[in-house]
């Protein structure tokens, strides 16, 4: 998802004449600084500071000065089985949400790209998960999953499939239950992105392929997918990052329980930093998360792009 190629612009900037050219650059700095300074001081700076903190014994409310301790935090992390459990759950969650999110959104966007009635209704409803505060999404699904007063168990009872269960506090059901919520919450953005990609695919090509007797699946493989692929890759990569770093949904749904079965890495790091005050250790966790995300994404993107050349 790189920004547009502005090559067109650069060729057109020339005929400004000699004088204004330099003035534009001064003006440009004047325009850029109000945003650039906060970015440097409050984003780039803190991120570097955060990485540096990972190599210190920084703690909340301590009187002795913070000291450099090298890679001690990372060595501790290596032996912290709780953290690796959390990390495994985080990856399960991120993949478990991102993949169905993509498949369901692809299905919905293909439907919305058809000339169906009630399309407007689906578009309108898709706003709801997107606009809702994550905390409210969590609360809402707690009501759905509620063991007694929840609609899910009631439906199960009505269908005669048993008594239902306490979804969010069952050891086996908690993670799948929160994954469903994650899929629900993230579907709209993905759908909208894919729909826009679909609307960019050349219609004539589609019709020509249909004329040649290509079935729906073949048309999708040979016409739609190649055009959709860049958007699909970009949104999937972003979804994976966002999901892996997700916090509020699961905080509200289960707060990491039962027995840590849904404790995502962000929840773990949050507790480490702001409940136990271990800033240095939590920063080290953050660094490991960035590193792993980068590796996973690199492997995913390289694999996908190469797969495209074979097809």
């Amino acid at each position: 998802m790189t920004l547009a190629t502005a090559t067109k612009r650069s060729t057109k900037r020339a005929p400004h004449g000699g004088g204004p050219g330099r003035a534009v650059d001064h003006g440009a700095w004047f325009l850029v600084l109000p945003a650039l300074i906060p970015i440097l001081i409050l984003s780039v700076g803190p991120l570097l500071y955060g990485i540096a903190l990972a190599f210190t014994d920084s703690q909340s409310g301590r009187t002795e000065p913070t000291e450099w301790i090298g890679t001690l935090n990372f060595q501790d992390l290596l032996h912290d089985t709780l953290f690796w459990d959390s990390f495994r759950i985080g990856l399960l969650w991120a993949v478990g949400v991102t993949v169905p999110q993509f498949l369901l959104a692809l299905g919905l966007s293909l439907l919305l790209n058809q000339n169906l009635r009630f399309r407007w209704l689906a578009r309108a409803l898709a706003i709801i998960p997107w606009a809702m505060p994550e905390v409210v999404v969590g609360i809402m699904w707690r009501l759905v999953y509620n063991a007694d007063a929840g609609i899910l168990n009631e439906t199960i009872r009505d269908l005669g499939l048993g008594d239902g269960r306490d979804w969010l506090s069952g050891l086996a059901t908690a993670l799948p239950a929160v994954i469903v919520v994650g899929v629900w919450a993230g579907m709209p953005q993905t759908t909208v992105a894919l729909l826009a990609g679909l609307q960019n695919t050349p219609r004539e090509l589609h019709e020509a392929a249909a004329m040649d007797g290509a079935g729906a699946w073949r048309r999708f493989r040979t016409v739609t997918w190649p055009a959709l692929k860049p958007v699909a890759l970009a949104i999937t990569a972003l979804n994976f990052i966002w999901n892996f770093n997700s916090f509020a949904l699961v905080y509200v749904l289960t707060n990491g329980g039962p027995g840590g079965r849904t404790r995502l890495p962000m929840l773990f790091a949050y507790e480490e930093a702001f409940r136990y005050g271990q800033f240095g250790y939590a920063a080290a966790m953050g660094c490991v998360m960035v590193a792993v995300i980068s590796v996973v994404l690199a492997v995913f993107l390289v694999g996908r792009l190469r797969g495209g050349e074979d097809a």
Binding site: P38, G50, L143, N245
Partner: protein
């Protein structure tokens, strides 16, 4: 292209399934918000409240400082949106019009900032804000929200600026208008709808935000709506579900209304930033 009757029926069935999946949790929230406690503790809950009541809303306001929280949310969201748009628009203009190294670096930052877990950003910011005595204060929260909203605001605004033809500006320059005058009288009016949409999107994002507010705001009278909502979860029982649902529904309304208004522009803007001009 002709689609067979059977295929059409299948498509409608699939669309129906999507509609149900998207809508039912929200309908259930509404239903719960209007149910009296007796129905909420019944073992056979119904979709439509038998005896609808507004008592849950009253109780929600009694139990938690929702009005104060809404006010805090409003101040934080408006402050963050206004400041973010004010500082992002000029920079986005430069990024869109001038292909400089700075523009490339800024684009790189927009992308990279998405990959960093917030915990890595909030720990240092927490330490910095603590030194400035801005912990547990709405201005401190606004500061964080501005930085957090900037990548997205820049992304969208760059797309909107690209949509304004540079030829128009060049024509004005040929006619003898200065750079500043061109920006004010030609570019700004054409950009205004995009700026408003970006601001409203930043508003919704800040209104909905939870993690930073949870970390930075400690006392109940300073907290924003999403944080206050989680206090309802403290002691869970069937009795609490009604007020919880009522408060959650109210907290969602502003976002839903604004989002409904700007939806087209938002999706357009996101993609304008992403797809080539």
């Amino acid at each position: 292209m002709k689609t067979g009757k059977g295929a059409r029926a299948g498509q409608y069935l699939a669309l129906l399934a999507y509609l149900v999946f998207l809508a039912f949790p929200f309908l259930w929230l509404l239903s719960t918000a209007f149910k009296p406690p007796r129905e909420l503790s019944s073992l056979h809950p119904t979709w439509i409240p038998k005896d609808p009541t507004l008592a849950n809303f009253r109780q929600a306001f009694d139990e938690q400082p929702l009005l104060d929280a809404a006010l805090n949310s409003l101040v934080a969201a408006v402050g963050a949106a206004v400041i973010a748009v004010l500082i992002a628009t000029p920079m986005a203009y430069v990024m869109a019009r001038h292909r400089t190294r700075l523009a490339k670096a800024a684009t790189g930052w927009v992308v990279v900032s998405q990959a960093f877990p917030f915990v890595l950003l909030i720990i240092p910011l927490f330490l910095v804000l603590k030194n400035l005595r801005l912990i547990n204060s709405v201005p401190g929260l606004i500061t964080v929200y501005v930085v957090w909203a900037l990548p997205f605001a820049l992304w969208m605004l760059v797309g909107y600026v690209r949509a304004v033809p540079a030829e128009l500006e060049e024509a004005a320059a040929v006619d003898g208008a200065g750079k500043a005058r061109t920006l004010v009288s030609i570019t700004a009016p054409l950009l205004a709808p995009g700026i408003v949409a970006t601001g409203l999107f930043a508003f919704i994002s800040a209104w909905n935000e939870f993690f930073f507010a949870l970390v930075l705001l400690k006392t109940p009278e300073k907290q924003t709506l999403p944080v206050v909502l989680t206090h309802f979860l403290g002691a869970e029982g069937a009795v609490e579900l009604g007020p919880l649902a009522a408060a959650a529904f109210l907290a969602t309304l502003p976002s839903l209304v604004i989002f409904a208004i700007i939806q087209k522009r938002i999706t357009g803007g996101m993609l304008a930033g992403a797809v080539k001009s």
